[in-house]
Symmetry: C2
Subunit: 175 residues, 2 copies
DNA sequence: CGCGTGATTGAAACCCTTCAAGTTTAGTGG
DNA sequence: CCACTAAACTTGAAGGGTTTCAATCACGCG
């Protein structure tokens, strides 16, 4: 972690604990903060018109998680953020001081990383089969696939829990 | 367009013309620039292992287009950028001066807009059917769907040209 | 220990793809 | 400006991958 990053975290509010299942940000809330995960794991998701959940992001230790729509509009949250394990997090307010070059560089670097990750996720959704996306998921998050419930991974990959279950079966058989 | 934006464009190199079909950035190139489209239309895409093209972005007049992977690694381009109409563009070098608060704010704002757009595209890929994605595309880019070749729109939506052709037929019939 | 949620499995249905053929459109040279 | 050619788009039929729905199994927690 960089010096500026440490400084930013030090200035943040003290960390607090959340229990598995607890919701930190609900779709429709008016909050302009994100969370830095010290331990445990959070996720963000949306619920579509048919009541289905779609996981947008997982955030284990060391990750940031937020709702960028809030970030932009300073209005209502689009995503819901919940703890999927007992976790310890720090609330981060989005009051970056663009006059401070160090913070500006840090923020821009973080956003570039995020853009890079989203670009790859989109291209994978466009070009990979469900099985290829799952294998990519395992490669990218080797500690998550055995730690996160199957149905949440399925909703991250854009397939049904039944579909992912069958893919897992095939992969064991094919090996 | 903001004052800072104008200033940025004014500092850029003079615009130049490209013909339909011309490639401005090829996957594998080592370039650290993006393009601002004055007129016409560009697109960025990748070619997968099976030789299929997947359109990542369209950029008509007033849009920026670049390869963020280059942006991050300062290495080889991942995307290919080509003109899909005769166009006039300005090359933009990524030498943002983070010490200049105006530029830092502008850059951060642009990145937030991009993040917001990518978030929605991912959620649409996860939760919408092909037809819903196409209807969303028409709503978001009302001037593009009649201007861009069907097969490129199909590759943007993640379906085959035949698939989109049938969806169009169904939509006319259903109306 | 039993209840409830999550995971698995099967069968049928569906959406979309693939492949192949035909039609239309666009671009080029005479 | 027309003729020719290539590319783009359309349409049909068959097939594949995933979903849906339903039933069963496995497990963690009170």
């Amino acid at each position: 972690m960089s010096k500026t990053e440490n400084e930013l975290l030090a200035r943040a509010e003290p960390s607090f604990k959340v229990k598995k299942g607890e919701v930190l940000l609900k779709s429709g809330d008016t909050v302009t903060s994100g969370f830095y995960v010290m331990s445990g794991c959070l996720r963000s998701y949306v619920v579509d018109s048919k009541g289905k959940e779609h996981t947008y992001q997982f955030a284990p230790e060391g990750w940031l998680i937020s709702d960028l729509e809030v970030f932009k509009n300073k209005q209502k949250a689009f995503l819901t953020i919940e703890a999927i394990e007992d976790s310890e997090v720090k609330r981060l307010l989005f009051d970056f001081d663009a006059n401070n070059p160090d913070f500006a560089k840090l923020a821009m670097g973080k956003m570039q990383n995020r853009l890079y990750a989203l670009q790859h996720r989109i291209i994978q959704l466009l070009s990979y089969t469900a099985e290829e996306r799952y294998q990519e998921f395992i490669k990218t998050y080797p500690d998550l696939f055995s730690r996160v419930p199957l149905k949440m991974i399925a909703s991250y990959l854009g397939i049904t829990p039944e579909g992912l279950s069958r893919i897992r079966k095939e992969m064991v058989k094919g090996k």
